[in-house]
């Protein structure tokens, strides 16, 4: 077996297993091979979700390969309108109809990146290094520029030199946690797309 790769090994063993167990159940291999290929949808996992674009919030059904068992990595291959949804009743618009291509867009970011001052390229960076550095930069700026009191003696506890724009396509839970963290730091410069 030394020359057989892991993939080939799996192929050989699964074929053997499939063949032998089908035979045990009384199916001849010929009949099994002649069977029409089943629809992918038939063995897909259906997940209910909401279109992330406009605020009609159409219900969508996402179909993914992978049954959520441990080590099975799901991949969504089809999305359609949810016929039970009281607003969209199974329909989608030209934006929602393309959702599958958003999930699998070649523009999806997959790894943290860092652009050094003056550089013209991205460099990869580990999550830990990126987050450590961001936390350090934030703390340095807050410690240097936090305004606890105004010259007139008013307690204001604000940090004006760092700001944030939050995402109105993120969930309530993300929005809520983001707000909690940002205000605890004393940030005032803080908006989401509702401002635009």
């Amino acid at each position: 077996m030394a020359d057989v790769t892991r993939r080939e090994f799996l192929k050989v063993t699964s074929a053997t297993l499939a063949g032998s167990s089908l035979a045990l159940l009384g199916f001849s291999p010929t009949a099994a091979i002649a069977e029409v290929r089943e629809f992918k949808l038939a063995r897909a996992t259906e997940t209910r979700n909401t279109c992330p674009y406009c605020a009609v919030a159409c219900g969508v059904l996402m179909y993914g390969l992978g049954d959520r068992s441990k080590n099975a990595r799901s991949s969504i291959f089809h999305i359609e309108g949810d016929p039970d949804h009281p607003v969209n009743r199974g329909t989608l618009c030209p934006k929602g109809a393309g959702l599958i291509d958003f999930i699998h867009s070649p523009s999806r970011l997959t790894h943290p990146q860092h652009r050094a001052p003056g550089s013209d390229t991205w460099q990869p960076i580990s999550w830990d290094d990126a987050l450590d550095r961001i936390a350090k930069l934030m703390k340095e700026d807050r410690d240097a520029n936090f305004v606890a009191k105004t010259p007139e003696g008013l307690t204001v506890n604000r940090w004006l030199t760092t700001g944030m724009l939050a995402a109105s396509a993120s969930s309530n839970e993300v929005g809520y946690l983001t707000h909690k963290v940002i205000r605890s730091l004393g940030i005032l410069s803080f908006d989401n797309q509702a401002r635009v």
Partner: protein
Amino acid sequence: MTNHWVDIKNADVVLIMGGNAAEAHPCGFKWVTEAKAHNKARLIVVDPRFTRSASVADVYVPIRTGTDIAFLGGVINYLLNEDKIQHEYVRSYTDLSFIVREDFAFADGLYSGYNPAKRSYDKSTWDYEFGPDGYVKADAELAHPRCVYQLMKRHYARYTPEMVERVCGTPKEKFLQVCEMVGSTSTPTRAMTIMYALGWTQHSVGAQMIRCGAMMQLLLGNIGVAGGGMNALRGHSNIQGLTDLGLMSNLLPGYITLPGEKEQDYEKYVAARAFKPLRPNQLSYWQNFNKFFVSLMKAWWGDAATVDNHWGYDYLPKLDKSYDMLQTFELMNHGKMNGFICQGFNPLAAAPNKAKMNASLAKLKFLVVMDPLATETSEFWRNFGEHNDVDPSKVPTEVFRLPTSCFAEEDGALVNSSRWLQWHWKGAEPPGEARPDLQIMGEIYTRLRTLYKSEGGTFPDPIVNLSWPYAVPNSPTPEELAKEYTGRALKDLTDPKTPTQVTRKAGEQLAGFAELRDDGSTLSGCWIYCGGWGPAGNLMARRDNSDPTGIGQTLNWGWSWPANRRVMYNRASCDPSGKPFNPQRKLIAWNGATWSGVDVPDYKADEDPALGMGPFIMNAEGVARFFARGNLVEGPFPEHYEPFETPLAHNPLSPGQAQTLSNPAARVFPDDLAAFGKVDQFPHVATTYRLTEHFHYWTKHVRLNAILQPEQFVEIGEGLAKELGIAAGDRVKVSSNRGFIKAVAVVTKRLRTLPADGKPVHTVGIPIHWGFTGLAKPGFLANTLTPVVGDGNSQTPEFKSFLVKVEKL
């Protein structure tokens, strides 16, 4: 939306103005089609462009961009003159009879109290006259010369059909046709809905446009009824949720406003927001403000929020001015900011004047971008030829780009335009090393907390004391957070009348905001969501779509704030005695003992209507306001002002007054003022818009949509095309005083040349969807052209009206 998507089917007249639902909200627009097909509804579309919504309208009316208040003011004038108002409704449910102070005045486009140097008003005269009992004085006969009815009548008498035609370019007979259709809904049995979007918000007088629409609806008795309402068609899947949760520079969750720096005293802060009733026997629900506020502070600071430290009031940052997005980039451009985080937001594309944005971002020390996609903002430092002509070596900003999961890869709730909180479920893992936003925020916070604990620093208290009870501290779960923002009891709650009776045990989720307390015994991170995850579990995840009466009320689908109510102000759908104005479209009714029906009553559940409590329970008056008092910066009644870049030299409604050409109370920064263009150099009016095939700057990364609309174009009318010798398909350059874009010209009949104060004006339509990253053909960010000035109240940029010059390339 005061109402909801499905409810549109109940309308007799649909007015789409300041929006284009057929293309921007197609699956919601289906309910307009439903109303037309099954309720004999008639559709009116008022828009500068003959949109796809217009193409199926019964009446399409062109309007010059930015003149909607002149149009709507004209409709109000018509309704008052022709007596097309719902008398019982306006007399009982609005402020028409209230008497206004004697020193309140309006002349030449300005209200009393204007300070031209500050470009703002002293608003003290914009108020009612109060009697010795402390209540507002009223004249039930509506005859007092200073009652709201008489003042409003005088104000809009100037908005004649001739004036509408002169300002808006709308032919008088078309305008009157609209008035007649709108006026037909003043009977108690007919309803009109208004559907609007960014075509109303993205103006320097956007808030007043919307207010003007709401006033029209009130005159007609169309607020609070099935098939009526003011329905904002919101743009992002959770823009309603992020607004509710207060992710705005001046807000806390649940529309609680942040304190100003003068509000040093916690008790005074609360008193200024817990409005006392202004009329006898009114609910004035904001009197409960402190319960909402204390419950929020307990959610954020837990045991560290105590009665002795005013529940952590000092922890909150205090405002000296607005720190909205336009103000932020102004500060950044002046080198006054060092760090910035963009979470799923692409401001280089979304904020006005791209050149200013490039310059501002390059003055930062560090920029953190969290996004599923490679946005333009994350690459603002990179050279993309004329689409982003920068020299990276001259940009000293350190940039981090952190990959996040997308909707399909997470659980959680989104709030749609109808205020429905709907739970969604994760279907796959994010690609590569991408992480959920919750984890990234958790990681950043826990690192900061560790640093402040180990090395100290400036005012660490609110950071190290932040309540963080999550099982995995660097990665809180959606369930933990949803239970926290909805709310639970921290101690056993007892019935105030029988203190031995426990109504809610410590640790249990609460059924609604009526259970919230101001003694620290309850927690709720966003009071208007209280009950969404209640004692019975996660109501946001409900999927029962049954609609027992067929009126479109699916009360067991998801959960709607507030209190699962689907039509706000629904008490106003009944007459003063509690009988539905329209028995065919009954939402609720009084049965002699309680209010009930197919919606959750927006009223005290056992309030006898004979006692006179008004239906607008959040207002201290108990009724709806035509007269806004000091709540808006421009004045108590909407007045027409031109866009900041206008083809006109004078405002036709106040021609003698230079200060009132454009909004006299809008904030304009000096550099931005200098960057405005004039009509002699930039003779064409531009308006930005959206295509049905694209979503903002997002779907150009999506293959199907990039194929459907691959290349940047601008739309011009036949009149302008002829004048400049442009044929369909020619390339053109469109310039403003801030920059230029180049695109293919699409020549159509959809944009027509309209007269503005007698002079013909060409309108140019600029779809916004292209940029220099993604799968579609590279293009220019449309906001290269747009001016930096916001609505006077919301600071939403004026993207719908500005001046450009079109040239053939």
